[in-house]
Subunit: 345 residues, 2 copies
DNA sequence: TGACGAATTTGGAACGTTCCAATTATATAG
DNA sequence: CTATATAATTGGAACGTTCCAAATTCGTCA
């Protein structure tokens, strides 16, 4: 129940040295004599002193806080992304403000400005749908490194880390075509995100490449969630000529599509080929195991954190764009004979 | 590229008033004249001033930061818990340090001490397995409100918010018995968490209550994850006399059990009754829809945040224990004729 | 012993805010 | 026009640290 936090001068007094010496000890400076260091350290332990990082920041105006804003933590893709960042950030001796915008740009704006007031050294942003340049410009202008992940923010002059959505979608469709499918749907999502656009483009180009005409009605929009997948199947069921396979916007949608097919007595992977996108952790153990494009969200999170840390240390802020490569992981849901060994667990 | 952050005195100078006045404006004090307020506010806008909350904390030593440590963000139960907290914390004008301990007590300790240095006003902890009193005592002793959620930390004199695991498990087993099951397994988890113990106790008591003897071998331990559920089924398949239903430690295990059954050509909900625990968001849309004990993680998160906020505002720190009630949500996976309307979406 | 360089230690100003007591401006009443 | 209450503003100390320049102590060598 100490009335006021014990400070550096309290322990200085107790140790019979000056506050400067204590400060030196705290930062592990080689300037202080071994005996003095010991004495100070024991006193620190005895008095239960806790370092006040806020006060230190005030003086040296470089904090050890990294802001992370994620659009949807309940989606396991983003949760893993966040965990990857967390690992990297922690082990670099930083600490994080992690907030969830829930796809609301207003909330996102509030959160970012609050982080700014709290003096973050850098920001990693997985933007909410509809994020605009103006939402991040002030931060970036004031010299704080910003890294945008997963989704692009068009026009923003900041670093980005995006997975190769185009190539991934293309690989998926090629695989389905090689299995003999020609009526292939694209399920889930709306045109409002860059991710959607890129994946759709890969889908279209792979079809054209195989001389399969692109049919507008096979793009079935829905929420990018498990429930959205179910809804997409419902809409598909009324088609006169039904597709025989689908590429889904992400794994969540793909699981929903499996659910929806089962409700219609179609066994996913048997009567209908499904490919997801992201390779979330459940993809491997689901039944049927989901064929998907592996994006390695945790790895992406780590790289994003590394990128922002690098920029913080560099001091200067040269935007950098990284496109991370993805790979097709063939499992059971596309109905292929498993031709490729499952990656090691 | 401003060299140094513009401060309150910069804008004071520009507005031709004293820094005190600017400070007053910033806190919306009624003491300042309307005209002055306007003038100051426009200058603030023009100069792109950003408030330095750190400096303010230094003076008034009450921060607006709440620390949240979650053991596993990739588990959607905990992710939703975190989101619930986030909502409450943000709307109370606080900001959060959210960290992920990954079930490591060491990492958890580091994270907590780092939060402490950064001056949190309160802490919400969903403890890693094996957390001990000593891990939170120093914080609590220094007068910072601590709320422990989901899992108990035995012996800690802090507030807790736990769901009624005992009653939930009991309700689940009663339901299975009412459907005619008598050989019922308990799947997933190890004895190392309080949650496991409480749920198992509910399971046992409900059996005894119905004069069904408790059989040790029907408690099938496994990792509390989807993969663990699959593993548990494998172990069950070799039993001479197989159970006809199972209560799972949580929904993740339950999904894994469904997967495992399907691999063995048993249709979950038909040949075998399954009840989960937690009611994560996917439980409703999965096929078969999962019968489970609804714990409302997001609601729990909100309540936990409210509790810690209350304690922060109260100043004093009287530990409070809240047991939140749970309810059985009957869906398809237990094979019951759906006798109760699905809750509204 | 005195001097000199290296090793340690130290006082005080700064960082950007809040808060208090004190001051100044403005309005009201006599 | 003065006295007085009220409204608005203000200077300076304080919060806990870092950093710098300066001071002190120590050891060594002539």
């Amino acid at each position: 129940m100490s009335k006021s936090r014990t400070s550096i001068v309290d322990i200085a007094r107790a140790a019979g040295v000056s506050k400067s010496t204590v400060s030196l000890v705290l930062q592990g400076s080689p300037l202080v004599h071994e005996k003095t260091r010991e004495k100070v350290n024991t006193i620190i332990g005895d008095l239960g002193y806790v370092y006040n990082r806020g006060a230190a920041n005030l003086r040296q105006s470089r904090s050890k806080i990294i802001g992370i804003v994620v659009n949807d933590l309940t989606n396991s893709f983003f949760a893993e992304l966040a965990v990857g960042m967390d690992m990297m950030v922690q082990s670099a001796g930083y600490v994080q403000f992690l907030a969830h915008s829930g796809e609301s740009v207003d909330r996102q704006r509030e959160v970012i400005s609050s982080m700014r007031e709290n003096g973050i050294a850098g920001l990693i942003l997985s933007p909410a749908r509809g994020t605009e340049v103006g939402d991040i410009k002030p931060l970036a202008d004031s010299g704080i490194p910003v890294v945008v992940v997963v989704r692009n923010v068009p026009g923003a002059k900041v670093s980005r880390l995006i997975s190769d959505n185009y190539a991934g979608a293309k690989a998926a469709i090629r695989h389905l075509i090689s299995l003999g499918h020609s009526r292939i749907a694209f399920m889930g999502g709306f045109v409002d995100t860059a991710v959607f656009g890129e994946r759709l483009r890969g889908y279209v180009d792979a079809l054209l490449e195989a001389n399969i005409p692109f049919a507008e009605e096979l793009v079935i929009h829905s929420a990018p969630s498990r429930a959205g997948g179910v809804a997409a199947v419902e809409r598909m069921m009324v088609f006169a000529e039904r597709p025989t396979a689908a590429l889904c916007l992400n794994d969540a949608v793909a699981f929903g599509v499996c659910d929806g097919l089962r409700s219609n007595n179609i066994e996913p992977g048997k009567g209908f080929g499904i490919i997801g996108f992201d390779d979330v952790i459940e993809a491997k153990t689901a039944v049927p195991a989901l064929t998907t494009i592996s994006v390695d969200p945790q790895g992406m999170g780590q790289r994003a954190a590394q990128l922002v840390l690098k920029q913080i240390n560099a001091g200067q802020n040269i935007p950098e764009s990284i496109v991370t490569s993805v790979r097709l992981v063939v499992r059971q849901s596309c109905g292929a004979p498993v031709k490729q060994l499952e990656e090691l667990a």
